[in-house]
Every structure is written in C-alpha cells, then in structure tokens.
Assembly symmetry: C2
Homo-oligomer: 664 residues x 2
Amino acid sequence: MTVTRSQCANAIRGLAIDAIEKAKSGHPGAPLGMADMAEALWRHCFKHNPANPKWFNRDRFVLSNGHASMLMYSLLYLTGYKLDIEDIKNFRQWNSLTPGHPEYGHTPGVDITTGPLGSGIASAVGMALAERMLAQKYNKPGYDIVDHMTYVFMGDGCLMEGVSHEACSLAGVWKLGKLVALYDSNGISIDGKISGWFTEDVAKRFEAYGWQVVGPIDGHDAAALDRALAEARSDTEHPSLIICHTHIGFGSALADSEKSHGSPLGAENASSAKEALGLPAEPFSVPAEILEAWNATKQGQAWEDEWQTLLEGYKKEYPGLAKEFVRRINGTLPVGVDTVVDNLVRKACEAREKLATRVSSKNVLSELVPAIPELVGGSADLSGSVGTKTASSVIMNPDTYEGNYICYGVREFGMGCIMNGLAAHGGFIPYAGTFMVFSDYAKHAIRLAALMKLRVCWVLTHDSYAVGEDGPTHQPIEQLNMLRSIPGCTVWRPCDAEECAIAWQTALATQGPTCLSLSRQGLPYIDKGRNPAIARGGYIVRDCQGKPDIILLATGSEVSLCVEAAETLTAQNVRVRVVSMPSCEVFDAQDEAYKKAVLPDDVRARLAVEASWTGYWYRYVGLDGDVLGLDHFGASAPGSELARHFGFTADNVVARALALLKKA
Amino acid sequence: MTVTRSQCANAIRGLAIDAIEKAKSGHPGAPLGMADMAEALWRHCFKHNPANPKWFNRDRFVLSNGHASMLMYSLLYLTGYKLDIEDIKNFRQWNSLTPGHPEYGHTPGVDITTGPLGSGIASAVGMALAERMLAQKYNKPGYDIVDHMTYVFMGDGCLMEGVSHEACSLAGVWKLGKLVALYDSNGISIDGKISGWFTEDVAKRFEAYGWQVVGPIDGHDAAALDRALAEARSDTEHPSLIICHTHIGFGSALADSEKSHGSPLGAENASSAKEALGLPAEPFSVPAEILEAWNATKQGQAWEDEWQTLLEGYKKEYPGLAKEFVRRINGTLPVGVDTVVDNLVRKACEAREKLATRVSSKNVLSELVPAIPELVGGSADLSGSVGTKTASSVIMNPDTYEGNYICYGVREFGMGCIMNGLAAHGGFIPYAGTFMVFSDYAKHAIRLAALMKLRVCWVLTHDSYAVGEDGPTHQPIEQLNMLRSIPGCTVWRPCDAEECAIAWQTALATQGPTCLSLSRQGLPYIDKGRNPAIARGGYIVRDCQGKPDIILLATGSEVSLCVEAAETLTAQNVRVRVVSMPSCEVFDAQDEAYKKAVLPDDVRARLAVEASWTGYWYRYVGLDGDVLGLDHFGASAPGSELARHFGFTADNVVARALALLKKA
C-alpha cells in the first residue's frame, strides 16, 4: 500500500489529538494546522540523525510557537528518536520526556526551549549565525564540515512580539541565507481573529528587513510547500520567510476557531476529527506502513556517516583545525585558560591599580579573547562603555562571517536570545554587554538561558546609582536582585581586578548564564593577597582578632567603603570582620562549615552594604542586622555627589555599624 | 532685526553645547542634529501653553531618544516654561529641574519619562489612543474639547528596539492619524555607522504597519519640515512617520561621528561649533530677539483661553458629560467605588466560595468596569485566561474609538508602555493582563510606571508552579520578587475573593503601578470575618491564645495551606499564628507598632510559605526562620501533582514548622 503525504501528516494530527485528550490539556490547534508543513520539511528536507540527536552537522529545528509541542514530539517519535509511544502517552505528565513546551536538554531532538513567544525565532537567528561563523572558520575546499540549515516554525504571536523584530532585522543585516522560517499564518490567536490587533503586512515587513519572502502559499498543499522550501533554500544570500496560510485546528470541527488553540478538542470533536482525517479510532495507533514512511533512522545514519567520513579526512588534512573544531563542539575550554587567569590575578595584585571593574573586565577579555576562539563578544550598541570589544575583537563581517564580535545594535532582548542560540548551537561561548539597567529588556532571555543551562555571559556595567548624571532611568536599583533570583543564574559583582578575573574564570566554567555586575567608576584595589577563596563566592577580606563584634558584608563598589570603615571602627576598639561577597550564588553552594566559618551563627551584628535594593540582603543579615542600600530610584547628579546624598560613604558605614552595635 | 529660523534652531544648539560642557557630561549629538526639527515643530505646529504645562488639550511631545534632553530643556526654556537659565546651567546636577534624561512629574512640560530607548514612541501610541478615545466619548458637535496631536522625536535606537515594533504595529491597527513621529535618521549610533547593524528599510517597515511615510526629507531644511509636518497632519487616517535625514552633532567638528553622541564636545570643538553657528561666545547667552521669537506664552495662553471658553460652553450644554470629563482628567475616582467594593467584600464573605483569584478578580472587575468609565482594560492575547474582559467590556473599535477594552495582541512590553501613555495622558486608569511569567517581557515598562508614579494595574495570573502542565516556561518562580523590588511598585497576592476586592480597591487609589498576582487554580475562602486589616497589607488571619510558638506567614494560594497546617499544629498543642501578607509593600508602610503587633520581635520561629523564590522572605523570617518556597524551575505536570512533589501541602508545612520549633 502506498502511503500518501496526507496520511503522514495526519499521523501527527492523530497523535496530537490523542495525547492532548489523554493529558486533558494542551494546544491541538497548532499541530493540526502545521502538520503538512512538518511533513514537507521533516520528510523531504530535514537532515538529521534520530539515533544521534547531538550530531553536530544536523539541520536545526526551532518550534518558535512552542505550544505546538505535540507536533515536535510526534515528529521525534515518528522519525525514530528515543521517544516512544509511551512517552507520547505521558504528554505533560511528571517526569515525562514530553513536557507542555519543548525543553532543550530534556527531550532528545529538541534544539532549544520554546514557549515564550518570539524567543524561538530569535534564538534561531543565533543558530544560523553560528553555522555561518563556524563554516567560515573551519570549512576548507572539499570539506564543508559545517553545512546545515536552520528551520523555524512560528506563528502570529511570535511575529507580534518585539523580539522577533529585533532578531529578524539582524538576520537581514547578516544575510543568513541558511535560515528558513515557515510562518504559520492562520489568522487566529487566543483572543480570536487577529484582524483586530495584527493587520501588518508581514511580507512587506520582512522584505524591509532584507529577507526573501516566499508565498503566501497554501500551507496544506504538499507540492506548494516543496516548491517554497526549494525556493527558500536556493537563495543563499537572504534569510527566507515562507508564508503558509493554514487552518488552525485543521480537520476538526473547531478548525479556524481560537477554541482549538489551547484546550483539548473534547472527546466528541476528537473522535469526529480523527474519523474525518481517516485515522484509526484506537488512540495512539499509527499503522506500521506510516511509521515506516516516517522513519528516518537509516537515512539519518547515512547522513551522519557521510559527515563522519568527511570529518575523518579533514582531521588528516587539517589536524590543527580539526582538533580545535572538535574541542569547540564538545564545549571544552582550551588548555591554558587557567594560566591566563592566574597571570591576570598576579598582575592585578602587583599593580594595585584603582580601576573601574568594567575596565578590569575589558583587561581580562583582552587576554581571554585571543586565547579562546569560541568566545564571541558583542554589545547592544555600547561597545566602548561596557568594554566588551578588545584589541583582538574583530567585528563580524556578514559578507564573509569572519570575526568574533557582534554589533547587535540597541536590541537587548534580541541579543540575549541570539546568544542563547549561539550557545545552544554549540561551538561558541557568547558574551555581550549593556548597561545593567537594561538587563530588564533582556530579562526573559537570561531566564531561558538559565532554564537551558546555557553558558552565556552578560557584561552588565554601570551597575549602581554611580552611573551619575544619566539619572534614574539609567541607574539600576532592583536589577541585581532580579538577576540573582533567577534559578541557575550566577551573578558576580567583583570589587576589583582580582575578583574580576576570578569571576570571568568561573563564568567560563559555568553551565548556565553568568551576569557580571561592573562599575562605571574607578574602584581601589583591595589588599587580600591573591586570595583563592574568591572562587568560593564569599570570603573574609579583612578580619579581626577573636570573635567579631560585627561583620560588614559588601560587594563590588561597596567593599572598599567597608574596608575603610573597618579601619575607623578598629581604631575605636570594635572587632570588625569584612566579608566580600562577589557571588552570592557561588557562596550559597559552598559547604555549611565554610559558610559558617565566614558568617558565624553567633555573630548577629551584621551590616550588608550594597548600592542596590536592600531586601535581598536579609537572607544574610537577618532581623538583627542592617542593610545599607537603596530602596528608591536614583537621581541625576555626579556620582560622587549621589554617594554622599545616598549615604555610600565610609563615615556612614561607620555610623550605621555603631548604631547596630548599640542596638544589639 | 529679523530673526531667521536657523538662528532659532541654533539657539537650541548653543544652549545644548554650553549646558553639556558645563555639566561635563551629556549627549550633544542629538540636540545639535534635531534642532531644526524642533524649531519647525515647536515654533510652527506645537499647540501648548508654557504657563500651564498641564493644560489638558495641549499637544503632547515625546522625546523618545531621551538622551537629547538638552533639546527638550532648551525648548522649555525658550518657549517660556518655568525653567529658567539657571536651570539650564544646572543641567544634570543634584536637585535640578534638568536631569540627564527627561523626567515626567519632575520638570514642567515633560509629558513622559524617556531614556530607555523605544519606550517613548510606545508610550506616545498610548497617548494618541487616549486622545482618540476621549474625543469619541466627550466631543460633541461644535465642542471638540479633546483635540490634540501627539508628536514624537525618535532615533535609530528606538527603531531597533522591539518595543517600537510592538507599539507601532498597533498604532497602524488603530489608525492613529493624530500621531506624528519624526525619525531622526542620522546613520549613527553609539557603536558607529549603523550600516553594520541596522539596514532595514524603515519606510517600508512602517508602510507595512499601515503608517503614512513622509520623506525622507532633509531634516535641516525648515521648509521641507513644514511641508512634511503639514502632510503628516493632513492624513487623519494613518499615523505618520516623517523620515528626517540629519547630521548628528550638526555644526560641530564632530558632526556625523558617533563621537558627538554621548560626551561633551570639549572646549575647543564647543567654541568652534558655536562660532560656526553664529552663536555668541558667552555661554548660555541667547539674544533677546531670539528669546522673543521663541516665546510662546502669549499664543499659548490664547490657545488655552479659547479652549477654556469652549469648555465653559460645553459645561452648560452637556453638564453631566462635562462633570465626568473634568473628574476624569483630574484623576479623581467616581463616588461610589468604595460601596461597590464593600458589596463585593460582603458577597465574598457570604458566598465563601472556592474560586481561583483570577476569577475573583474578574468578578471585581465586572462590578468596577461599569462603575468607572476611565477604566480601560486589555490583555496581551489572553483575555479569557486572565479574566480582564468583563460583560461590560467593549473591544475598542479603531473606526470609531468606542470601547473600553484593548486587544493588545502578544505584545507585553508594548502593552505596558501604551498603558503608561494612557495613564500619563490622563483621563484613563489602564489595567491589563498576562501570565505572570511574561511580566518579564514587560518588566521595564512596569519600572517606568513606578518611576513616573503612574496608576496602572497589571493583572498577572497563573502565578506559580500551579500553572501545571504548561511547564517551567510558563511557571513563575522569581517574578514576584522581581516585581516587589521595583521601587514604588505595589504587589498584591490575594488569598481569596475578599482580599482580591481590597487589592483592587487599593490599586485604584495608588499613584504607581500595582501588580496583582492571581492564581490559576481554585482557592478556598479563608474565614476571617470581613477583616479591615487586609488593607494594611499583612494581618493576623488566625491566632492563638498568648504568645505564639510559631508564626506561619503566607500569601495567595499558600494561605489556606498554613491555615490547615495551623489546625494540625494546634491539635499538637503548638500555639500558631497565621499571618496573611497579601501586600508586603503595603505592610512595610504601616507604623512600627502595627508591624510589631503582627510579627512580634520575640517570636523568631517564623515559617514563610510562598510558591516563589525563597530569598525574598528572609526579611520577615530572619536567620532563625525558614522559608518553604521554590528555588528551582518548575515542571510540566498537573498542578496538584507538582504541589506534592514541591512540598506545597499542609502536611509539609506542619513538618517544616515542627522542624523549625525543634531547632529553636
């Protein structure tokens, strides 16, 4: 019996209907609507190896409208990934491989976590860029060892979100010809017919970005899809958007209605839809010949084998490059990074310079960038201010893809998602900078990096009121707290060049995002004698004899205030310990004994000093301690003047410490 | 002596150069580049009354590229606002009226705070919508009491930001013909020539949104600017974009260079620029005839007088409408709102229903929306789920501007900025909803609302892991903490219908944003007998005889767990107090005596329970307390199952309480 393409597409529909019915929750509309698109792409274009979801040269697939997760899981099951029918039956259940939205690192074959709309297409831009940049660096005549497509499915919601604008505009600048986005244009979003809130001419918009626009086509017409995909792939100079007109909830009684979007069809509609689609009534049953028609394991293995052969030849002909390439795609750092950091620490301790930590960070990067080819830097149009561009940084040239530095323009959220895509693709450790206050714009990208455990580094400078004259719009107050509370996000707020070097070293070794909080203003070197405890996140930077009367706890620009205050207090016979806490998350992860040694239970006179929201610090100082911070917005004036007005002086630290001791 | 238009424009340039030199910081490039645009707009189109910056029917001006603040301050000084030359000399100094970026509520004549790029144009869309909606409601034949333009200056950075996409796309949908944006297209952003990161065809993009695009024109050609402004104003069906080609740093040696963007020109360049522009060498000196040519006080007063006369006539002819209109523009609530709330509270206490707080919120809105015509609701495409659309909600129709409900589409950040614009315009109290996790996308809009003390209300539902099957991408963990730490932002997390009504009542009385944290799942009514202390943010919901052994502290969905646990503990002879803390910010603002009465100093066995990041709660429970919360991402499974896995059960509260008591 010949299996038709419709039958193959309908197999997806059947699985989606059944799984969502069984889970009693989910989004049937999108998988039903996009099944034909998926069939055309996954059975006729998509190069992958179900047996090895990590095969590096596979095409990447991004389901930007991640609520269509049952489409993804159906594809993985049907083509032969390690996802069996039991997993499909466990859709949206505890510990299953089939969560509500696709999760990177959780389900084999999921290249990026999606669900938050727009973030998928934006990360796909990063993946497509990664491919081009690696190809530029490693491909040699006869050896296109990096050569794959990045495909995206996205819906109206993705296109409404601003991040799609930011990233797709950049994709145009970067001429990402191997990025193909299929737009599931069904005219419906959750609130109903989109004509009430989304009337823009999407084709024109993408043409304005420099994309090739293909269609609109009938997204249920397999031949039209084939032609469109061929046309998209044939233009290697521009990213392509294929506009596919589809019917949400195709095949069901709820087709073309928002009612099919986010709830199960219901037993009756499910059963009638399956009948209309010619599907077996038995839930989760896919006829053997359809499974056979979908199965991609043989072809997939052949693709990978071919590539492995190519790579073997490459290894022989270009052993140096090959070694570096393999190291990079494995995510291992080059040998010698620790030596670079050690030298930086030694130099910092010798120089004892007063430096803004944003400058210290640039100094660190100046050594790391030439030593680590996978570092790809960038900034949201603040390269000079944030110190991300080093002498070894070469701005990526979209004509050749040479370079290791990306000018993202003023697009923080897009930058974040693109970094996530670069990291998830593999072969890169992205870092990029902006002013800390604008981490707000990118917050959700940082959250997604944390959820995916992606190694990306945010260089967040101008990290307090000390921004000064730019005023409250540019002065972070609550941002450190916001970032520290993202599960799996590590924040470092170094007090000087030494701590800054260690912060970078740790960031490079961390599977998850790191945010560096760096000062605009110069900070004195803190004498602490090459202290290995810095790497423990919190440590005693200045101590007293015996049990302290009081502990001063500080980060970044406030450490020197505390050290200075400690001198004054010591002269008044107060026993003072100063704790520098550059990374609370790293400190929290230390063993209890170490933590109690730094912050002994029986010393409750604790004063935390940080030019940031005070609420954060009570977890360390408790109800008997005090926090010198900022619970109001900043103001426009020179930073040194603000310091006086806001109480960030050694004298005020002394006064607050004495008041605390008096109270105790 | 006839004063030329160039001379008028150059007066702005002179003031900008001098003020920035004196402050030793600032952004000269943009004011120098946009001075001619400002002259054309402010001297030939802009309808305002410098003597009364709050005149309601004034044109609105939004400097979306807020770093050009010296342009704004020059205009205010020159046209005759209460901003004198001493204020200009105090640019960027402590307590001055001329901070680094324009601040709403701080400087007379500043209609919205800008600086964070893109937010200005987005808020302007809200202002222009406000004008149309008020005009629809209140204008009568012969009485166009609401009839003004909204003008925006914006730069390349604004157009790179995603929020400009979200809002401008909506402006097209809404056919905001009285919105005119002048795009300062100078080809330069901070990192240099934008051709490396911003190549999109802006005209085409805006045409795709449904805007009229005028130009490109020479942004230094007064006649061309006049023609363009006339063309823009003549199209009342579409918002207009005027593309103005300009030279950043016009007139200085640093023209066309990013070097003029963000630092003073330096003494030498400043002096040569002033000479080239024919300006007096003496700093801050503007010849009397130029001041005279700029002064708009007479014309401004005449404009307002004319309108006041119109309004007087309107008051006579339409007394009811006039009364409501004046009440609305004064920001006073209608009489009777408290009665509505009292009735809701009474009903809630009688019904004792198990309800999701998102449903309770909808019930409250169902009474408030018909009672308060200035309430304008909306959602980022989740109207059904978040309960923002009531039976009295009418979707705003962009052909007539009738309605009190806005379908924003999937555009959280844009929605936030538009709400800020609606509130800053006056006449509206905007509220809108999305899932709490997506408050991330809008975070900076909420921050700006807080900075501006704007009364906007965010309905953030699905406020914990209990979202369930949608999984970790949709389950907030750190968001409550993020929102609570924004200075001036008030968060309410009600536990039942009664607290929910009080939360709404307080939100309507708060000058600043309120975020309501609401459950997806049903929550039992908590017996507390119409407790007036709810309005104090935190109160004893269940107490014991004598001094408590332990205090259980909870919010929202976790209050009932604690009440249940308290029963069990009481049966074990533990004296338990349960504190419900729906709004930490409101509780914090109570007097010390009240706070200590609720949380006595000498009761240190305190267990906070909230399905959220634990770090927040140590400010209430200290080092001797404990927090039952979530410091990791959620998972995809039914909510009740997650509750067991994550420990949100009364049994676990009991176990943790007993462990804490044992430790003490």
